[in-house]
């Protein structure tokens, strides 16, 4: 029994890993202090804060996928989305609040990819919380400079004839990419199509799943 009698090994036979927790940072302490003060002073309540956290967690990429699938199947909606994506998605029940939404359509001529170089602006009403890599310095700085290399690392290699359009989400607008509808999906229902729409395909770092992979 090679793993017996070793105090530094866990019952699984592997070494214990050090905990990766650390003391609260300055800004974490600040957030707790401000939150507790707001509650103490009656500006908000702990229940309200929990409700907001739940509302934030309830948003997820299936909302965006429903929008994309409808754009693929409903020409009038696609038109409305082009004209005013905030209003078109609000009508589906995905309110973007005070921000404005722009839908960017991918075609064989152009591929759109979204980044926020200043922070982490993201269409949370359609996609939920951004992935950690979206907020990383590497993604934010490289996407505006070498988007094709970044795309290739995500597994997307585009021909020279497809123009890459990077959208830096710097101010009041939020962006959702409407990927091109996969071939071989003629006659599919919007619900089935939505299953092909990935989060990354709506950021522009990925493509929808192939219909064979459904």
């Amino acid at each position: 029994m090679p793993h017996d009698h070793h105090d530094h090994l866990s019952p699984s036979g592997h070494p214990y890993r050090p905990d990766d927790d650390h003391p609260l940072t300055y800004w974490q302490q600040m957030e707790i202090a401000v939150r507790e003060l707001l509650i103490e002073k009656g500006v908000t309540t702990a229940a309200d804060i929990n409700t907001q956290i739940d509302a934030m967690d309830a948003r997820n990429p299936s909302h965006g996928a429903a929008v994309v699938a409808r754009a693929w199947t409903d020409p009038a909606f696609r038109c409305a989305l082009r004209k005013d994506a905030s209003a078109a998605t609000r009508e589906m029940g995905f309110d973007i609040g005070p921000m404005r939404l722009i839908a960017l359509e991918n075609t064989t001529d152009q591929h759109n990819i979204v980044v926020c170089t200043l922070c982490s602006c993201y269409p949370r009403n359609l996609l939920g919380l951004p992935p950690d890599w979206y907020k990383s310095r590497a993604y934010r700085s490289r996407t505006v400079k070498e988007p094709r290399k970044v795309l290739a690392e995500f597994g997307v290699t585009l021909p020279e004839s497809t123009t890459v359009r990077v959208h830096d989400s710097t101010a009041d607008m939020r962006y959702v990419v409407i990927p091109a509808r996969p071939e071989g999906t003629e006659g599919w229902s919007a619900d089935d199509l939505a299953k092909l729409v990935t989060r990354d395909s709506m950021i522009g770092t990925g493509l929808p799943k192939s219909p064979d992979a459904k």
Binding site: V144, E146, P147, V166, H167, D168, A171, M173
Partner: protein, 95 residues
């Protein structure tokens, strides 16, 4: 092409909350569309009333931002720039 409205982003580097990415300052692009008005975030950030400003989506070619050595010169970067950061400009020479 001929109808493009070219703009240069001011190359100032003021302190404080500014939503104009520094990698675009001094660069020339064209107005893709005009949005807004939205309140000036440089005032809102300090609890002041924000002046309503047009917000331009400016499209830059990779070549105009990163020079001829850019990854693919005709690819583009769009960014939202508040109008007070823009001044009219001539078309750049890049493709």
């Amino acid at each position: 092409m001929r109808d493009r409205e070219y703009m240069r982003v001011r190359s100032d580097m003021p302190p404080g909350h500014v939503r104009t990415p520094s990698y675009l300052r001094g660069k020339v692009g064209w107005v893709e569309r005009t949005l807004g008005p939205f309140e000036n975030p440089e005032q809102l950030a300090y609890g002041l009333k924000g002046d309503p400003l047009p917000l331009m989506r400016v499209r830059f070619s990779m070549a105009d931002v990163w020079g001829p050595a850019s990854e693919t010169p005709h690819d583009t970067i769009d960014a939202e720039i508040y109008s007070h950061w823009l001044e009219p400009a001539e078309a750049p020479n890049a493709p």
